[in-house]
């Protein structure tokens, strides 16, 4: 069950890098966030009510709140719908494949605890982090970069939720709050960028250089 979800997450990575429209990109990211937020429920055991509540909160935030913030910004800023990558989609997909393979390889090197033996979590987490990096590095618009950041965080959550089940409640909530606050600040900055530069293309944000 868990491995199935993780496989789905990895597939979504491909979808993220392959999507050419920003709206689709954000929706896909939301879907990935929801799937990941559901992970604790799939794991089922040793969580209790508190865990379920937390998972639900996370699901709402990742699946609805953050995508809503991003989409709202996207609509309001009235920017072009295309993703505008630096490298082509097929190349991106190949890089994701490479990253996934790398994640699997690294995962092989890391000995899992007996109860997690054979788990895909490490590979999925690293592959998703890598996908997030790819979005950050190869996409031009500030909004796609913010999405990339979201994916990166998703990858980290995979690891945290699957393997480190016992992360204290306080820390987990802080993580979510930080994520929201981070995305919120990013969106504010994006608004300012759009106002100041009339574009979200980060190539225009390159006046500070040596």
């Amino acid at each position: 069950m868990v491995d199935l979800i993780l496989a789905l997450v990895m597939l979504l990575n491909f979808a993220l890098l392959g999507s050419g429209r920003i709206r689709v990109l954000i929706r896909t990211a939301a879907m990935q966030g929801m799937v990941i937020a559901a992970l604790p429920l799939a794991l089922g055991h040793e969580h209790g009510t508190r865990g379920v509540v937390l998972a639900l909160i996370a699901l709402v935030i990742k699946g609805f709140v953050i995508p809503a913030i991003l989409l709202r910004a996207f609509d309001r800023l009235n920017i072009r719908r295309e993703v505008e990558p630096f490298i082509g989609y097929s190349a991106s997909l190949m890089l994701v494949a490479l990253g996934t393979a790398g994640g699997v390889l690294v995962g092989r090197h890391l000995p899992l605890a007996p109860e997690h033996a054979g788990n895909l979590a490490v590979a999925a987490a690293l592959a998703t982090v890598f996908a997030g990096f790819l979005l950050l590095i190869t996409r031009r618009k500030a909004i796609t970069q913010a999405t990339g950041y979201l994916i990166l965080e998703n990858g980290i959550s995979i690891f945290g939720l699957t393997l480190v089940g016992g992360v204290p409640f306080l820390v987990e909530t802080t993580l979510l709050l930080d994520l929201v606050a981070g995305v919120f600040v990013m969106v504010i900055v994006m608004n300012h960028i759009h106002r100041a530069f009339t574009t979200l293309d980060t190539r225009h944000l390159a006046s500070l250089k040596e």
Binding site: P111, V129, I156, F159, V164, G166, D178
Partner: protein, 496 residues
């Protein structure tokens, strides 16, 4: 106990008050008040630390908070720095009356609170959360000027810093899993982790790498430092000082704790090699970019990169170099405050921060120019400033560890950095300027110069005289270093 509570509550309260005050001119006075209270609380907390030892356990158990020697030194650096910046802020913000400063003042208070929390926390996760929060609080401050350039800087800061700090979280998880993989319950306090003795080697190593990259980004180690010149260059001097002296110091503390942990978990050798490489790379990178650098604020940013590299190298040299490292941290934080504030004064008076435009500052702004020159000397480790003693101490530690290559590269980088740094500083400070005289309110006054003078005097005093309590803190930090392998691996140091 009360002092520690005050340390955390005062910033929160100050943020609240600042948010409520409507008068743009009166609001900044919150900052010096907060700084004074905070420093007083810090001093009391440090002084009563031994007495309050029995209360510690309770605090650690419930809130994962404790003031250990390492944290106390960083807190001291931060607190003094904040008081300095706070005292400077009202004068500065009065000169910038055209900009609303509510966000700045509130964020500064929040930043102080979260940074304080980070220095006190004994829990990897809590520390991470505090630093992440502090990172976010800094973003609006960087954007204070509300122009395109500062916006660009903010965005870069936010993205690079955000990604870095996210990696630090992953690293924290890896550390946690290292315990799980070794069959221990999840526990992220340092004490608990250290108590395990040995944990799964690959997890610790990978976790350390992630934490190094994560907190290294916050510190500004090359090549993750790229946000630094942009952010420092486009932000007011007070924010630059807070970032360069405060944010980086706290990030360093996080890294130092992680290194201590990794050391105790038996992976110290790898951690030190990685730190040495990153530190030397930072110094070399900074050196390259300081040559012919004609933006005085970006120059300070690269100097900050250099100093973080020095701290990393010092950390890599093990507990023997720890007193030198801590002294360096204090000296760097305070010298940077003087430099950034003086650079800000010069920037305002000339309406430029680039070399051909800025020249002859010592004639135009005798005190700010002089501070800038002396601050440069302090930052480059000139005796009798404190940073000389600390760099000397690091070279000595390297020598006694037999790390000859490290010491050679370290000193070579210092030489190149001095050449580049001095060229820019002398061009700015000496000579004659054909720019028009600054308007009277932009010239030197005690409001704009007293604080950097004090900052510089502190660095000088620390170089001439080491107060006994501070020495005890250093000694305690060395004694408390959770190293199991202090003697191991230093002599086997190799560079790839």
């Amino acid at each position: 106990m009360i002092a520690i509570a005050l340390l955390l509550l005062a910033p929160a309260l100050a943020a609240l008050v600042a948010a409520l005050i409507r008068d743009n001119a009166r609001r900044p006075w919150v900052l010096p008040a907060l700084g004074a209270v905070h420093l007083a609380a810090t001093l009391v907390a440090i002084a009563t630390r031994p007495i309050a030892a029995h209360l510690d356990d309770a605090l650690v158990a419930s809130l994962w908070l404790r003031m250990d020697a390492l944290g106390a030194v960083v807190l001291l650096a931060l607190s003094v720095l904040f008081l300095l910046v706070g005292c400077y802020a009202p004068g500065y913000l009065r000169a910038r009356a055209e900009r609303p400063n509510r966000v700045l003042v509130v964020c500064a208070a929040v930043f102080l609170g979260l940074a304080t929390l980070a220095t006190l926390s004994q829990h990897l996760g809590l520390m991470w959360a505090a630093i992440e929060g502090a990172t976010l609080a800094c973003a609006p401050m960087i954007y204070f000027n509300h122009n395109q350039r500062s916006l660009e800087a903010t965005w870069k800061y936010l993205m690079v810093g955000g990604v870095g700090i996210a990696l630090a979280l992953l690293g924290t998880f890896f550390m946690a899993y290292a315990a799980i993989a070794s069959g221990h319950p999840v526990e992220l306090t340092y004490e608990a982790l250290i108590a395990h003795g040995t944990l799964s080697e690959p997890w610790v190593r990978v976790g350390f790498v992630l934490l190094l990259v994560g907190y290294g980004t916050k510190m500004g180690l090359a090549p993750m430092h790229a946000w630094k010149p942009d952010a420092y260059g486009e932000t007011p001097g007070i924010v630059g000082a807070l970032l360069a002296g405060g944010m980086t110091s706290v990030a360093f503390l996080a890294l130092a704790r992680v290194v201590g942990l990794v050391d105790a978990l038996g992976q110290g050798a790898f951690a030190r090699q990685a730190l040495t490489v990153m530190g030397l790379l930072s110094m070399a990178w900074a050196a390259v970019f300081m040559i012919r650098q004609n933006d005085i604020k970006r120059m300070l940013a690269y100097s900050s990169v250099e100093h973080m590299g020095i701290l990393a190298v010092g950390l890599a040299l093990g507990p023997a170099a720890l007193p030198a490292v801590l002294l360096h941290l204090l000296g760097n934080a305070w010298a940077k405050s003087a430099l950034f504030l003086a650079a800000g004064n010069i920037h305002r008076a000339y309406a430029s921060k680039h070399i051909p435009a800025v020249s002859g500052a010592i004639l135009r702004l005798p005190i700010s120019g002089g501070i800038f020159l002396l601050g440069f000397l302090a930052a480059t480790g000139t005796p009798p400033f404190a940073l000389f003693l600390s760099e000397l101490g690091m070279v000595q530690a390297a020598a006694s560890a037999g790390a000859w290559w490290t010491a050679s590269i370290f000193l070579t980088c210092l030489a190149v950095i001095f050449i580049g740094f001095s060229a820019t500083v002398l061009a700015a400070v000496l000579g004659d300027s054909d720019a028009p005289e600054p308007e009277p309110h932009l010239g030197d006054s005690w409001r704009t110069t007293a604080v950097p003078v004090v900052g510089l005097a502190l660095v000088l005093a620390l170089g001439l005289w080491m107060p006994a309590p501070l020495r005890h803190l250093f000694d305690e930090a060395v004694a408390a270093w959770p190293s199991r392998t202090a003697a191991v691996s230093l002599s086997q140091e190799t560079l790839p």
